[in-house]
């Protein structure tokens, strides 16, 4: 059997390939981006694409599944928020070809705006969720997810975290299977969710989740590793690996099916150990469940909810062991090395100007969010993809015309296509008069230079129609649209002054390629 060192994300791509995945779609987002990149680079038979956002990606994948193909969407945790609407209803329709969603959480918020724990989605949307603890399991579980999806007629979520996505390990490769397309049979009772169809489907999915609970109780993904029964630890994901290292003598219930949780196995385990612990990253998801079954584990009172777990955090919590070396603490101050805009970055010119004009800047998600830090310190709000424009309109609604004359919204080209278009429509429709600056560097830069609809290139590097941002802004009703190279700072400043003074909606397209692209 061939073995290879692989990144967790590459292992997921491999698992999809082995399962005969036919269609894959995603929007880039750390820590999930490399999954689709690996598919595009290594498995040319899979129809892989960047979609404008995660909601569209999930819908494309749902369509492919209903049409009979095995299909997979990949996204970061906050991407699933964007895709939550289709998620909850495709839970009702179920699948035809295997339908898999890779969800990458980011404990520690290494590259994210929050630390949400997406296990709650599985419970809320009534979907099975499985969780690998290593790159090897990432390959196996991804492959398995397609089978489970077809067996139980459920989209299946594979949840990883940053330390699975971006850790490497040895992966054994297996031969791919080549499933035929399943026939598409017209079945509106299953695929058209009018209320009359949704009600019986709800009954059906509750039945399926009971069957999945049975599966969860009996499958090898949830395993008891018996050792000394003095101490028993229930754990999941990468925390399992840390526990194996720092508590080699403990018995472990390893949870690989995050939802539905295995009641019978939990009972079996908890009833036989003297001290019971739950070690899990982020929320007390397993812990609360175990409590509801009547046990009293030690969990979040010693294992932090906030931040990423590490071996030493668990060692300290469970064994009261502090890291040891005798190197003294340096008495001076060690300057941090925060990420910063690159030298010559086109965003830098824009924020020089905005800093000078001292306007309120409603920001968005991308490299340019770094303008919140010195030397620019020129961003004042930011929440999620596309929020800049809606918030900008909200500022004007709350504080009136004066506000619009002293503020701008800034949003990257990729982020604008992702979810900036509808708020721009709102700004025009509801008679806003603010100025939006589209920071058009012709690439999704922050996540490592991916294409998007306005670059005219696909994930596979093929040429395609190039979305014309200027024309788009005009089509939604913005009459004042100009395109300026921000390196010409004088002209750019003049444009910003004029556009924010104008009492009608305006868009400035700051047009200059990312310094890191050729």
């Amino acid at each position: 059997m061939q073995k290879k060192v692989m990144l967790g994300n590459e292992a997921i791509a491999r698992g999809a390939y082995e399962a005969g995945c036919n269609v894959a779609a995603a929007y880039p987002g750390t820590p999930s981006t490399e999954i689709l990149e690996a598919i595009a680079a290594q498995y040319p038979d899979i129809k892989a694409q960047w979609s404008p956002n995660e909601k569209v990606a999930l819908e494309v994948v749902a369509g492919a599944s209903v049409a009979g193909a095995r299909a997979m969407a990949a996204m970061k945790h906050v991407g699933l928020n964007v895709a939550a609407d289709p998620l909850f209803t495709f839970s009702y329709t179920g699948v035809n070809g295997g339908f898999v969603i890779i969800n990458a959480d980011d404990p520690g918020a290494w590259s994210s705006q929050n630390e949400q724990d997406n296990r709650h989605y599985a419970r809320a949307a009534k979907l099975p969720m499985i969780e690998p603890t290593s790159p090897q399991e990432a390959r196996m579980y991804t492959r398995l997810a397609f089978d489970l999806s077809e067996q139980f007629d459920r989209p299946v979520i594979v949840r990883i975290t940053t330390r699975i996505a971006h850790s490497q390990g040895i992966v054994t490769l297996e031969e791919p299977c080549k499933p035929e397309l399943k026939p598409f049979v017209r079945n509106p009772q299953k695929y058209v969710m009018i209320p009359a169809h949704a009600r019986p489907r709800h009954v059906f999915i509750e039945e399926q989740m009971l069957k999945l609970k049975e599966y969860s109780n009996n499958c090898e993904l949830n395993t008891i590793e018996w050792n000394s029964t003095k101490r028993g630890i229930i754990t999941n994901g990468v925390a399992y690996q840390y526990v194996k290292d720092v508590c080699p003598d403990a018995s472990i219930l390893k949870i690989g099916v995050a939802w539905p949780l295995p009641d019978a196995k939990i009972h079996e385990f908890c009833s036989k150990v003297e001290e019971l612990y739950v070690v899990e990253e982020l929320d007390p998801f397993i812990e609360d469940y175990v409590r509801a079954l009547g046990y009293k584990p030690v969990g979040k009172e010693i294992i932090p909810i906030c931040g990423e777990l590490t071996p030493e955090i668990i060692d300290m919590a469970l064994n009261k062991k502090r890291p040891k070396n005798e190197i003294p603490v340096y008495s001076g101050s060690i300057p941090g090395r925060p990420p910063a805009l690159c030298k010559g970055c086109p965003h830098g010119f824009v924020f020089e100007v905005l800093k000078k004009l001292d306007v309120v800047v409603n920001g968005d998600i991308g490299c340019y969010t770094l303008a919140v830090l010195p030397p620019y310190s020129a961003m004042h709000t930011q929440g999620c993809m596309g929020a800049s424009i809606g918030m900008h309109l909200g500022f004007e609604k709350a504080r009136g015309d004066e506000m619009a004359r002293n503020s701008v919204a800034v949003i990257g080209d990729s982020t604008f296509v992702h979810s900036g278009i509808t708020p721009l429509i709102d700004l025009v429709y509801n008679k806003g008069t603010g100025t939006v600056i589209i920071l058009d560097n012709r690439v999704t830069a922050m996540t490592g230079h991916q294409d998007h609809p306005a670059t005219g290139r696909t994930l596979k590097g093929e040429e395609t129609h190039e979305l014309d941002l200027e024309l788009l802004c005009r089509a939604v009703g913005v009459k004042r649209v100009r395109k300026i190279d921000p390196k010409n700072m004088e002209e750019f400043e003049k444009a910003v002054r004029e556009e924010i003074a104008a009492k009608e909606p305006s868009v400035i397209i700051s047009s200059r390629k990312c310094i890191l692209t050729k």
């Binding site: 290494w110 590259s111 040895i170 890291p323 040891k324 070396n325 190197i327 941090g336 090395r337 030397p375």
Partner: protein, 191 residues
């Protein structure tokens, strides 16, 4: 178990260095795991990679106080990783200062006593000067591989095994250049 941390600044190539170390360890029959940082850290931030190899490896992260080696490509980055060193752990640090953004912006200072402080406070500290090796390699971008060459003097793997791992880890046209850089690093006297 061998625990190795590579630390550097975004763009210095610590991920490639760790990839080659993993490859050489796997070829020798070890289980290996590694953990790395993507995303925000790529924009000139601090980057580190944890590499572990043994008969069986569980955690991809090294526990603080247990690293056998910290290989730092920059002086400040060495300072950030000292708590990972085991009491017997070895620090290999490149004599290089790269100003972080706050220093460039004039709101923080780069301490001028880092090298002397490290030498007098870290029990097994080796400061290496890679300037000559990089000159001979023809590119400062070879720093990661030069430092890997320095590290190789402390590890059990044979020269041939390193060459093979480099061949497996970089594009064909860069193989010779990287092997050259590796040996330039290997021959830097470690004091």
């Amino acid at each position: 178990m061998k625990n190795v941390i590579f630390a550097g600044v975004g763009g210095q190539g610590v991920i490639l260095a760790s990839k080659i170390l993993m490859q050489v360890a796997m070829n020798a029959g070890y289980d290996v795991k590694e953990s790395e940082v993507h995303g925000m850290a790529q924009r000139g931030g601090s980057v580190d990679c944890h590499v572990r190899f043994d008969k069986q490896v569980y955690s991809p992260l090294i526990e603080k106080g247990t690293a056998d080696f910290v290989v730092a490509l920059e002086l400040l980055e060495a300072m950030r990783k000292l708590e990972y060193l085991s009491p017997q752990g070895v620090l290999i640090v490149n004599r290089l200062k790269v100003n972080p953004a706050p220093v460039e912006a004039g709101i923080a200072q780069y301490p001028d006593d880092i090298e002397s402080w490290l030498c007098s406070n870290v029990p097994h500290c080796h400061v290496v000067d890679t300037a000559q090796a990089l000159k001979e390699a023809g590119s400062s971008r070879a720093l990661n591989i030069v430092m890997l060459g320095v590290l190789s003097n402390f590890l059990e793997f044979e020269q041939r095994a390193w060459e093979e791992a480099i061949q497996q880890s970089v594009k064909e046209k860069f193989v010779d250049m990287n092997i050259k850089a590796f040996y330039l690093g290997k021959s830097i006297p470690v004091v």
